[in-house]
Symmetry: C2
Subunit: 488 residues, 2 copies
Amino acid sequence: MTKDQNIMEATDSQMIDDFLSNNKGKKVVVVQGLGFVGAVMSLVCANGITEEYAVIGVDLPTKEAIKKINALNRGEFPIASSDPKVMEYFEKSRSKSNFLATHSTYAYQKADVIIIDINLDVDKVSSDEKVLQSYDVSLSGFKKAIQSIGRACQPDVLILVETTVPPGTCQFVVKPIIEEEFGQRGISFNGYIGHSYERVMPGPKYIDSIQNFYRVYSGIDEPSANKVEAFLKTIIRTDEYPLTRLSNTHATEMAKVLENSFRAMNIAFIQEWSNYAEEAGVNIYEVIQAIRMRPTHKNIMMPGLGVGGYCLTKDPLLASWSKKTMFKSEKGLSNSEQAVQINDRMPLRAFDIIENNVKGGLSSKRVLLLGISYLNDVGDTRYTPVELLCRKLLAAGAQLTLHDPFLEYWDELELAIETDLEEIFQKKYDVVLISTAHSSYRNNIGLINFFETKKDLFVLDCWGILSPEEIIRIAQKNTVKVIGRGDI
Amino acid sequence: MTKDQNIMEATDSQMIDDFLSNNKGKKVVVVQGLGFVGAVMSLVCANGITEEYAVIGVDLPTKEAIKKINALNRGEFPIASSDPKVMEYFEKSRSKSNFLATHSTYAYQKADVIIIDINLDVDKVSSDEKVLQSYDVSLSGFKKAIQSIGRACQPDVLILVETTVPPGTCQFVVKPIIEEEFGQRGISFNGYIGHSYERVMPGPKYIDSIQNFYRVYSGIDEPSANKVEAFLKTIIRTDEYPLTRLSNTHATEMAKVLENSFRAMNIAFIQEWSNYAEEAGVNIYEVIQAIRMRPTHKNIMMPGLGVGGYCLTKDPLLASWSKKTMFKSEKGLSNSEQAVQINDRMPLRAFDIIENNVKGGLSSKRVLLLGISYLNDVGDTRYTPVELLCRKLLAAGAQLTLHDPFLEYWDELELAIETDLEEIFQKKYDVVLISTAHSSYRNNIGLINFFETKKDLFVLDCWGILSPEEIIRIAQKNTVKVIGRGDI
């Protein structure tokens, strides 16, 4: 540790002590990780149902994280969201002064509860065409984070893992590390370790996806499970959304990756059928709508551009890796791995359709993309399928104009994004793509008027946003296609 | 036609004429095919919601079908069912004398509506280990059936296809054949051709699965679709279960095979995860129950012995065949084909578990199978997964005792089936399998008492029928396993 770091650490410890003396009588929750989950989880703990905690959010002393920490302490919430509750909760915690952000591990010493909300990534190696060639799961960052807790925490703390982990992690990784660190400290750990995975959906129900939603939980032993239950009841509306306790942490860890693999696989499945519908001249949207009338088939997925976000793109691989590595199985989960492989390549279908429909190649063609986010009504570019599509378009020499109502800048591609639709309409284009299913593109009269005043545009709706009437209007002067629909 | 056939035909024509003169004023519905669908569809038409038709069921003059025809005309319904409505509807049609069975194609001449409920099979070639090596779809039987209609029907008839067909069939097969036959007759066809697939579930809601359930329909043109709609409204409770009209017959044909492929694929998916749960010592039933709390994940499937019945075992192949053959695609539906391949082999997992848990090999071991039917609470052995399991057990030299409350005889294996559970308990066994999820095996005190008085039994519950408490009781003296559950 350098002298500067020592000073910073001392200042931070003082800040934490001051914060806690202002919050006397409140139990202390430390949230490790201030990303899409941790930042909002902190707000939920600061504004619990039956208890309001003194919440300290801890992140690493990296450039990005320090920016975020300082922003939070200045009163600026670092994640833009269409959910008004996010700012409301943040403002409430500001006025109560019960939320502090820091990079100091001193916080762990003061915690009654430590919630782990850090990322655990899968490193995928893929070709340019997104053929998954290999992947690996590295636990080193995760292990370090647990060690930092074990070195500092109280012996009777509740450690609650919310991170999506390979099944087996709490028993085979977290517990031994904590016990090892306590061994080094010469004291024994008599606290609690539990697992309760988050189902956070950034978007209009961001807060509710934690506070008003079903939860599954477990502990490494019964006292741990009891502790987790008691804690969750203080922050989640469990009267309306009852908790489900599972027998052990393997089970809850498996539940999370299974539910996401189920989604990923169902998306991969419909991908193949949407190609079939195109070939057969069938409107697969009406077909799926008809099938969804059956209660047993309500969840059949719609086709689209592809799959993005932090969960569906990696969780099936986490599971397969765990099966082979943690549980020494000869075989991984081939169906689930295959789903990721198919989904990773989905955007190539859109690119093929564009290439086949734009005369004279894509070089110098002006392409407008409506939507960058991987999910509708959120500004979230993590693993967005729009990225592969854009990279392919750029490689083919196209000139891109990007629009997303929720994003000003695309970090991954280092490109500016327009947020005003009216301004966009002033320019000329050869191709327009509806690349994210944002609600504001649906039934948008301005958008349809824009299409109607143009001719020779190629319009590709990747998400079935356009209504049959809108398609007829646009098709009078332009070419329209919808992914998966063969009837136009 | 031989002289005998001529006489028979003449007698049958007379019978039809007599039947119709007894049913004057009623519109005539002819149902082609008196199998699991056609027999019950006939009852529904004879006891419609807003109209009661004179219904003639037609089947081929084969030995099996003639037995069925004669039984129906004698007042014996040929399909055993746990749905009391079946016998109620049959008795009502008997007392109204508005249902006749015949093998005479003369019936087609008299029809206002002809409903096609015949089978269209996939010929699978598989190894002994059920590795699917190839498959083919032969339309020849189906084409002959359509020809027999085209040769005899009125020019203004409504032909309604309910058979699950490869997408494209109504347009590319049915319509040309009918027009060709009318051409040969020197008159033009000005009738209607529609498609509305059935979702019949033999079992306790057999009748309701037609009369009180959602329907999808289409026509080869708008007048045909209108005719189908008007007809369906007379027999189905469409006020509670609104109809869905799709744009064309390709779409409805695709909807049927898509919804069944969706199911087949979701079963194949969970199969792999249930192996994983076994390896990880996880109770996958509690995991799935927890996941099902999410409205978006309600339909995630439970593990089991395997997949049977007439639909899920072949429909994904029908679809893939159509994609390649009817729509000239280079690729079939590989995910959906793969689902069938995985599901066909599912029962081998149960066999492996038995083999690994019974000491000294299976030769001469006494094995009791509880359940033969592919589906709970029905007596239906069509493609039951129990068949592969039994063939493997027999090949290994095991002595089988079979029980099913709904079946007395197993046609496919030519084996007697016991229906009385108490009698079964008198014999001795080495292995007991719960091979069908019949409700009567659930919470069955007699069954648990039986297990408790035995020792050294190997009990395999293929469907998660046994409760945790029951498992504990059985496990005191015996070995218990549940497919997919690794925690016992």
